[in-house]
Subunit: 126 residues, 2 copies
DNA sequence: CGTTTGTTTCGACATGCCTCTAGGTTGACA
DNA sequence: TGTCAACCTAGAGGCATGTCGAAACAAACG
């Protein structure tokens, strides 16, 4: 991992390490933007947003690909591609158990994105 | 009118109308995903994420394009293009006053996205 | 009225993304 | 061991996006 420009890594973020103040408090540094933008980008597709929702809301905290694929009118490989995108963004993790692959949400990064967008009413407008 | 699944518009969201439960509570409907994905997509670029941050954190709640452009090593038209993307996503609004154009964040939609990503510790994991 | 300054639009090109089909890999089971 | 099911990877086609330079538009000012 050579692109260590920022002192923060995706692993840190997934682990829930705080990254920065909310977007409305201070201008975020370029390194942070470069690190978090891919996560937002991954959520920028309706299919992936629904996949993320199904994974995050799954009972037991995980869900099988075999339960995800039939929920869409898309081919298996296409769903697999979207899951890979979510995986590479650090939003989910995958684990193979026997025949099936189970996906699990990564609450740390989700919380980071949420806190970044949080608009605090007490944020000074001046 | 407690269960609004599809009859929601971007205007509603920008105005701060609640759209749905957090992503980790229930699977979001396809209509909601189609409505919110463009907003995440708009934030999925490092330049736009920084622009959004500069706008949202601007003192006075607004900022001039003439203050945004010099902050990047990109051409004016390119910055304008990114601002248009944020505008069309409903994340910011623009107003021309004299020579300059001022941009202002749209806290309603930002709050929607934040609440969607919020992970409640009390979310049942089983 | 013409010039200057700030901002957006237009046209073009390179790159990236979404989707598919085809094929490969992994694991279960007779 | 052979076969089948589940899942992923590879490659291609078509469309969208990011970026630029040039030009158009808008407002202020002399």
């Amino acid at each position: 991992m050579s692109k260590q420009t920022a002192a923060l890594t995706l692993t840190d973020l997934s682990a829930g390490q705080p990254c920065c103040a909310p977007i409305a408090e201070d201008r975020i540094p370029a390194e942070t933007a470069a690190l978090l933008a891919p996560a937002f980008k991954a959520l920028g597709d309706p299919v992936r947003l629904q996949l993320m929702s199904m994974i995050a809301s799954a009972s037991g905290g995980e869900i099988c690909v075999c339960d995800l694929t039939p929920a869409f009118t898309l081919s298996g490989p296409t769903i697999s591609h979207h899951l890979k995108t979510l995986r590479e963004a650090g939003l989910v993790t995958a684990e193979r158990r026997g025949t099936w692959v189970y996906y699990r949400a990564q609450p740390g990064l989700m919380a980071q994105l949420a806190s970044l967008l949080t608009v605090d009413a007490s944020v000074p407008v001046g």
